[in-house]
């Protein structure tokens, strides 16, 4: 517990420093927010255009609004916290710079993941939540039990994204270049965040909901707020997160053992 508090304090200090740093480059700070928000608004516009009779499968435009809002919020939250730290991990492993983290009196994994915060993305997270709120109110599903469900599933998906990113980056302990895996990850994230649940059918449901579970990310929290969340879906979400937690733990543990500093 003391260790966690200590790591948390270190990350908080880093966050304060990074806010000061990002204020030096204010245009870039607001520019990134503008780019991300434009991208999501365009995606929303496209969904509105292609939903010919107001629907894609069983979802109407407000369902799609919640879906896009969830994607925005999740993307904003992980970009704000662990995204930039984790994408630097392969370089740190390859160059031996992980040594500088290992010798610090904090958790190596959490420091490596959370030391490159990008707090500008918090604005995107907040905007995403506002979009979710708007869609949910229009659908008349904005009830406390639904919101609680949404928060729990959203948190699970935030953790799942961390685990998936970590599993891929851990391969750097054994491989020199993991660009192809990172490219596959980018493609799958882009793919899944543009595909609402009613459009994922047949064998693709197994692929995108269980094997490479990127399809769960924005769909499951959205379905949770709609109130259409069966026990089966709870089991699916918890089961997938549990499996990838175990996998990430094993890969990180064995990877650390295999790590031999600058020559790895």
């Amino acid at each position: 517990m003391k260790n966690i508090r200590h790591t948390f304090n270190v990350i908080l200090t880093l966050a304060k420093m990074q806010v000061s740093k990002s204020m030096i480059y204010r245009y870039s700070f607001w520019g990134a927010f503008l780019c991300d928000t434009s991208m999501f608004l365009i995606q929303l516009l496209i969904f509105k255009v292609i939903a010919q009779d107001g629907h894609i499968g069983s979802w109407n435009v407000y369902h799609l609004t919640v879906f896009i809002g969830t994607y925005m919020a999740l993307d904003g939250l992980y970009m704000a916290t662990y995204f930039f730290g984790l994408i630097e991990l392969p370089w740190k492993i390859r160059s031996g710079n992980l040594d500088l983290i290992i010798i610090k009196p904090v958790s190596t994994l959490f420091y490596a993941a959370f030391s490159s915060l990008n707090l500008g993305s918090i604005l995107q997270f907040i905007t995403g939540l506002i979009v979710v709120f708007y869609g949910a109110v229009k659908l008349h599903v904005f009830y406390v039990p639904h919101i609680i469900q949404f928060i729990i599933i959203f948190t699970l998906m935030y953790v799942l994204m961390f685990l998936l990113m970590l599993c891929i980056r851990c391969l750097s302990f054994w491989m020199t270049k993991i660009n192809s895996f990172a490219m596959l990850e980018d493609t799958l994230i882009d793919f899944s965040f543009k595909l609402p649940s009613p459009a994922i059918r047949g064998g693709w449901r197994i692929v995108l909901f269980a094997v490479l579970p990127y399809g769960l990310m924005a769909n499951m929290p959205s379905e949770a707020i709609f109130g259409e969340f069966s026990i089966r879906k709870w089991c699916l979400c918890i089961g997938v997160v549990a499996f990838f937690s175990l996998l990430a733990f094993v890969l990180w543990k064995f990877g650390r053992c295999h790590y031999d500093s600058a020559s790895s």
Binding site: I50, Q52, I56, P196
Partner: protein
């Protein structure tokens, strides 16, 4: 001209060093077509036609737009160019007998052409393997689209060049590029066919329509605009952008001190 051929040759050599990444990127582009198929099958439901497209036509639209999309996204050289302006390395264009615009256009073209060729190979394999999901295309019509594609590539490079040159005034322009890429994809029909977004009255005078939407519709035999009109419109836009680019190129060194910004 020989020096520009040399620039292209060097760019290709660089691309071959990272051939695995380039090849995988082409391979993963198949996901765009799968995405389009899954999404649009849900939209079509039991309907045969949506906004003048059948499902195989729609999937083919996304397949072709993915092939030509590198023309709308540039080759990444704009960031290097911008960094050179910031660091002072832009001086090399002032002291050497090489035009910055010429260098930019030829290097960008070399970078764009390789992903287009690889995407074509991967997508052709997809079309031959699963013909039931796609519209049959006539090679003769595809060949007629090549001049339009080349011109639209030049148009896109000129827009990128002008944004790169704005580094002389704005120090950090990375987000301008991202915004440009997002809006170019939308306005050129890379995200959705433009007739669905703007109605049947396509913005015929918009330069962006000719980057993805027009060449793709031409290949599918679904456009009323003649190829000569299209070439005429793009040429006018290219001429205007070249004039602006040369004007900016003439002014830029006056603001440049050779030690970076």
């Amino acid at each position: 001209m020989k020096k520009y051929v040399q620039i292209m040759s060097l760019e290709w050599k660089n691309a071959i060093i990272y051939r695995t990444d380039t090849a995988l990127s082409a391979l993963f582009s198949v996901f765009t077509v799968v995405l389009a198929y899954l999404l649009w099958s849900a939209v079509f439901g039991s309907r045969e036609i949506v906004d003048g497209f059948t499902l195989p036509q729609m999937v083919t639209y996304y397949l072709l737009s993915k092939i030509v999309s590198p023309f709308s996204q540039g080759g990444g050289i704009q960031n290097e160019f911008s960094d050179e302006i910031k660091s002072g390395a832009y001086s090399k264009y002032i002291v050497k007998p090489i035009s910055p615009l010429g260098y930019f256009v030829f290097a960008s073209f070399a970078r764009m052409i390789l992903p287009v060729l690889l995407n074509t190979i991967v997508m052709a394999i997809a079309m031959i393997s699963f013909p039931q999901y796609f519209l049959a295309l006539h090679p003769a019509i595809i060949i007629t689209a090549i001049p339009v594609l080349l011109l639209s590539g030049i148009l896109s490079m000129l827009i990128d060049y002008l944004i790169a040159m704005s580094t002389f005034k704005l120090t950090d322009i990375s987000f301008i590029y991202i915004l440009k890429n997002i809006f170019t994809m939308l306005l050129s029909g890379g995200l959705i066919p433009l007739n669905m977004l703007l109605g049947d009255k396509i913005a015929m005078w918009s330069p962006f329509s000719y980057i993805i939407y027009y060449p793709v519709m031409l290949c599918m035999g679904k456009t009323n605009i003649s190829i000569f009109t299209a070439i005429g419109v793009i040429s006018v836009w290219i001429a205007i952008l070249i004039l602006v680019a040369r004007f900016v190129q003439h002014l830029a060194p006056k603001a440049f001190e050779g030690v970076g910004i």
